[in-house]
């Protein structure tokens, strides 16, 4: 297949408000090929997280036009879980607590759903424990309820454990760096880099600080302002953003 990519074409998304639908994404064009790491940077409120949630199919967001092709398969119109089974993963900025559901049960259920069959028990438990260990979480962690009572760092590390074990074709990492101290940031970044190092996975990193990009190197940087991409470049664009900020585009948009 030649068209392997996560291909976002002229994506328009709105959200329902008290005063009617409000457009958030205003024509996003972006193509992530296997092996590529793209960073999306932009100020708060520019629609970065909306992009992440819309790709995953969050019910709060309505795709009004445009297309998202995952290796040629149209995701728009698919349910949240169908998209995930096609190979899309979203590491969330605010992972949700699921009381009473253990991490172990959750991981096994998700893996079974993604693969279409239950993972072999013996190797699976080893794999889970190895993944937890690489995130510096002990094996006892898997008996805790998903995200319940987790620290900010534990939540993010748990997201990366899922990334590693589910090993999707494309991963959207939404503000994975937020709320992390320097050690946790390093651990989380190493996990994401192991995923990237497979060489055939696509990553979309959403962040508004350049800090994360010192640990995870993107080949492409996109500046996101007011619901669309206003500037694109290589990793050096992130460095210049660090100096100049987003002001120039914010002024232009105003």
């Amino acid at each position: 297949m030649t068209n392997r990519s996560l291909d976002i074409r002229d994506l328009h998304v709105s959200v329902e408000t008290e005063w009617g639908p409000k457009p958030i994404l205003k024509g996003v064009n972006l193509c992530v090929k296997p092996g590529e790491v793209h960073a999306i940077m932009g100020p708060n409120g520019s629609g970065k997280s909306t992009l992440a949630y819309s790709l995953s199919g969050h019910p709060k967001y309505t795709i009004t036009s445009g297309s998202v092709l995952l290796d040629g398969v149209e995701l728009v119109g698919m349910s949240v879980d169908e998209r995930a089974r096609e190979g899309l993963f979203l590491a969330m900025q605010y992972p949700v607590e699921i009381p009473g559901v253990s991490v172990a049960n959750f991981l096994r259920t998700a893996k079974t759903a993604i693969d279409g069959q239950a993972p072999p028990l013996r190797t699976w438990v080893k794999q889970v424990n190895a993944s937890l260990a690489s995130m510096q979480l002990d094996s006892e962690f898997s008996s805790r309820s998903v995200n319940e009572g987790f620290s900010g760092g534990e939540k993010k590390r748990n997201e990366v454990v899922q990334l590693e074990l589910l090993n999707p074709k494309y991963a959207v990492m939404d503000e994975t760096d937020s709320g992390l101290d320097i050690d946790a940031l390093r651990i989380v970044s190493e996990g994401v880099n192991r995923y990237i190092d497979q060489g055939d996975r696509g990553v979309l990193l959403i962040t508004h600080y350049t800090r994360l990009l010192h640990y995870i190197k993107p080949q492409f940087v996109h500046v996101f302002v007011d619901g669309h991409i206003v500037e694109e470049g290589d990793a050096t664009l992130a460095d210049s953003l660090e100096k100049t900020g987003y002001e120039q585009w914010l002024k232009a948009e105003a």
Binding site: S56, D81, A84, F89, V96, I98, P99, I114
Partner: protein, 376 residues
């Protein structure tokens, strides 16, 4: 005939009538009474008729408990439980009660089966559970089959004993189960009651606790799953009569289907004498479809401010969309995501049973309640 009634001073509350063993002291409910206002009393005429002959369902006991018979007035019968409603008074008048004595050396699980054999004959039983001082035991009472049954359970928890009573209501359709469960907790004893109500057209349990002296801990837990047309009612009353007691109430219910109805009424009474007590009551309902009604009424009657803590909460909600989104974003389909959330919701309580096969069987049973998802 001169009748002298001695009202039990322990059961005087703004929300609870005085207890009495005399059936005549409990008029036939009209449905307007505070304690009956949520109950479909119109369907329960036979339960209030004290002229009916009632049979005993009896109990099958498996485990290290001594089983005896107790005649009317024979100790310890009547020590912990004073009937607070008409049905309970009728059952308390059963000529022969069953006495389950748990000795101090007991550590095993005692399984008690109460099996209904049909809804034609009304039945009533009065069970007395007595845990000796220092006893440590779990008693699992399972109600199955079909019956129109009044089942009282009177529980005496001896000093420093740790007693868990699990009461599973998994009756066949066409069944009605009323009854009063009442425990008296001795010094330093830890009493836990876990009610699990799944099957039966109407289940209404009045679950009371009081303390024999200072100290003592009571935990009243419950899960229920009301289907179309089912009425599941749990009424809790914790009477803090002495200082330094602890009580925790935590009930969780799910409702699904047209006319599914649940009632949870919690009441904790902190008497002027009950200084330095600690209490919390919580009720959570998960409404899974339209046409259900969950009533949750938490009450606190505080008569002394010199306490450690007292609080309550009641929540009723639908599925959390964010939880479902999170699970589904990992490839888990909607049916399974819902099942995980409901299982998780109940598992915190069920895990407290501490007996693996019982927990697994109940989880599997809850899964069958959730099978409706396949249709959606």
């Amino acid at each position: 005939m001169t009748v002298v009634t001695t009202p039990d001073p322990r059961t005087v509350s703004h929300l609870h009538p005085r207890g009495s063993f005399r059936v005549a002291d409990h008029p036939v409910p009209t449905g307007k009474e505070e304690i009956w206002r949520f109950t479909p009393t119109g369907k329960l005429a036979d339960f209030f008729d004290d002229t009916l002959a009632r049979e005993s369902l009896g109990v099958t006991v498996d485990g290290p408990a001594e089983v005896r018979r107790l005649d009317m007035g024979q100790s310890p019968r009547g020590t912990a439980l004073t009937p607070v409603d008409r049905a309970a008074a009728i059952a308390a008048g059963t000529p022969t009660a069953t006495h389950l004595y748990v000795g101090a050396e007991t550590t095993d699980t005692i399984r008690v089966s109460v099996r209904g054999t049909g809804a034609e004959t009304p039945t009533a039983d009065h069970l007395v559970i007595e845990a000796a001082p220092d006893a440590c035991a779990t008693i699992v009472i399972t109600h199955t089959g079909q019956a129109r049954h009044i089942g009282n359970v009177e529980i005496l928890v001896g000093e420093s004993a740790r007693l868990t009573v699990v009461s599973i209501q998994d009756w066949d359709p066409g069944s009605v189960h009323l009854g009063q469960v009442e425990a008296l907790v001795a010094k330093d004893a830890v009493y836990r009651h876990i009610a699990v109500s799944l099957g039966g057209d109407i289940v209404r349990l009045q679950n009371n606790v009081s303390y024999a002296t200072e100290g003592g801990e009571a935990e009243l837990l419950g899960v229920y799953f009301a289907d179309a047309g089912q009425h599941l009612e749990h009424r809790l009353f914790v009477d803090h009569t002495h200082p330094k007691g602890i009580s925790h109430v935590d009930y969780r219910g799910a409702l699904h289907g047209d006319g599914a109805r649940s009632v949870w009424v919690g009441d904790v009474l902190i008497r002027p004498t009950a200084r330095s007590i600690e209490t919390y009551e919580s009720s959570k309902n998960l409404v899974l479809s339209d046409g259900c009604r969950a009533h949750a009424v938490p009450n606190l009657e505080i008569e002394t401010g010199e306490i450690v803590s007292a609080g309550h909460s009641a929540t009723t909600g639908r599925f959390d969309d964010e939880q479902l989104f999170y699970l589904r974003s990992r490839g888990i389909d909607e049916v399974q995501a819902r099942r995980l959330v409901v299982r998780g919701f109940f598992s915190t309580i069920l895990a407290r049973i501490g007996i693996e096969d019982v927990e697994a069987a109940l989880m599997a049973r809850i899964d069958t309640e959730l099978a409706f998802d396949k249709e959606n």
